[in-house]
Symmetry: C2
Subunit: 335 residues, 2 copies
DNA sequence: TTGTAAGCGTTATCAA
DNA sequence: TTGATAACGCTTACAA
């Protein structure tokens, strides 16, 4: 069965398509009786507006592109969920792509989104991304870009970031207060803003406490459980560490396993604090102290920011929202 | 800067838009030299095809709608990720909606997808859904529907399901072989096919071993960690259970906590097997034995099935793919 | 308040 | 091999 169009409704009612269009759009310049007749007939015919045609005519769509490294990572899936929760009631839909942490795929995805004439792009860039031309290109085509978590100031538009510095500062200060003073830091790539900021917070806390910052205590590219395990094992063997501040909960889990593997105990011998509050953090033994990264909050803010930028019809450049983080003290860091 | 169209390319080259369209579409009825000129000019002008216009004209889009209860649930986010991995290289994009397990939202989401003229819908229905008319409506509009995990035969089109029966059977048989014989079953709502099938597998294993099936040992609507904890506590207090087969890893975690809370030990006093292999299953102590539900595999199959249905231009009705599951034996079920 | 008519960018049909 | 033309379904000046 062919789908009904506004022409079918118009024909059935003896009015013109323009009148039907106005009635359906809630345009005030249409009589109440006509509107009612149109709405009734639309329901009767099972009319569903064709947003493809509408988008083409209006030159803009109700679709927002969302581009993340991986859909199935806890943090990102929560951000996506929150974004959808805000955008859907506002009449927007989500076209989702993943970059798989690859620059090439990120470039392709941006092209896909632009081809689809999305009204805006909400994104967090891949770990490989150091050149942002492909993203800036979108903004040049007047497609607003809202960045979250992994962001770069070269790209015009709002940025939603966690307070990574404060989170790291709180975590390390907490470890120091609890009697740990040879604190290693397992982290990711320094090309990514979030790890850079967490390292800065770590350094600040070390300085603040009058301790000596030792570069050898900072291990980059140790962010998975496997690498966390290996690097922690090496540091423990050198016998110079009594705590780990990890830039992610996965590496923190690896560190805990390395400690236990070495015949030592968490938190009595070595303390551990993670970052992210992954769902398993309060399930593992000992329960992991970690910095809560509010994915839901970020998603809500990113979505609202996008709605505002679209409504105001400006790029929203330079706006940076810093989402507060909390330190969740559990068992792994209190002797 | 206005975006270039095929008309701009045509004008610049002194040919007509039809020729440009054919050249860009890879149509054979275009001379090699013209095609090359068109491609060069397109690149020069930074031309991006307008798929909105193309979709309108062709009457179909390259967008597949995806509707799941919750984007941020581990299982679903993995399915989505896998679907995207297959669909993207095939030239399709994903428009994603979530029902939040609510029938009303599911109905709205279907309407949104139909309004957007998606080429097909890949979905898993909400826990509230017992009437499928809104989904059947899509198929009547010749929009193919591929269901996965939570499925219903009333809806025409392919179904991708886990081998829930076998998974449950394996799990319970394993518990029995390991010396447990008073096995309780914490599960979800019997309105959902997956829980029904797992219960059937449980019953089958009980019968097969010559044990007596006791309805009081099956607790419905105990699928979260909280409800799992509470219901397990009650059963333990009655002192009639020596193992739990849980239809989900969250309730299994709750059961473990209830056992420990009661001063008993897993697996020596009471054994536990879960279902899903959530990421925390191998991190918690004791490590949780569970049935692996291959979300990735399901996503791949669902996506391929959709591509096939679209290519063949038939609904693919009645095709049911059963994804094999594996029992992962860890610590929680071996004395 | 309603109608007329043009156009969004693309593609399919037919003719040259 | 290329061109002319119409059409996909909708919105919006402008006119009545």
């Amino acid at each position: 069965m062919r789908r009904a169009t506004i022409i079918d409704i118009a024909l059935a009612l003896g009015v013109t398509p323009s009148t039907v269009s106005r009635a359906l759009a809630g345009n005030s310049r249409v009589s109440l009786t006509t509107r009612q007749k149109v709405l009734n007939k639309a329901a009767e015919l099972g009319y569903q507006p064709n947003v493809v045609a509408s988008s083409l005519r209006k030159g803009t769509s109700d679709t927002i592109g969302m581009l993340v490294p991986r859909i199935n990572r806890n943090f990102f899936s929560h951000v996506i969920s929150a974004v959808e929760e805000v955008l859907n009631p506002a009449g927007f839909n989500l076209l989702i792509c993943q970059s798989h942490e690859r620059l090439i795929k990120e470039r392709q995805a941006i092209q896909v989104l632009l081809k689809n004439r999305v009204a805006g792009i909400i994104m967090s860039h891949s770990i490989e991304t150091t050149d942002f031309e492909h993203i800036i290109q979108a903004t040049r085509q007047r497609v607003p870009v809202v960045q979250f978590d992994r962001v770069n100031k070269l790209i015009p538009g709002p940025r939603i970031v966690n307070d990574n510095f404060t989170g790291a500062h709180l975590a390390v200060k907490h470890l120091i207060r609890n009697g740990y003073n040879r604190i290693a830091h397992l982290t990711g790539s320094m090309a990514v803003n979030v790890y850079q900021e967490r390292l800065n917070g770590y350094k600040y806390a070390i300085d603040e406490a009058g301790l000596v910052f030792e570069p050898s205590m900072v291990i980059e590219n140790a962010i998975t459980r496997e690498t966390g395990f290996e690097e922690a094992l090496k540091l423990i063997a050198k016998n110079k560490v009594d705590a780990f501040f990890c830039a992610g909960d996965f590496s923190a889990t690896g560190a805990i396993q390395a400690i236990q593997h070495s015949g030592l105990k968490v938190p009595t011998d070595i303390g551990v604090v993670g970052f992210a509050n992954e769902p398993f953090a309060e399930i593992i033994a000992p329960k992991l102290s970690t910095v809560e990264q509010n994915a839901y909050d970020m998603g809500i803010r990113a979505a609202k920011s996008m709605i505002k930028v679209i409504a105001d019809n400006n790029s929203g450049d330079g706006i940076e929202e810093i989402v507060p983080v909390r330190l969740l003290v559990r068992e792994s860091s209190v002797k």
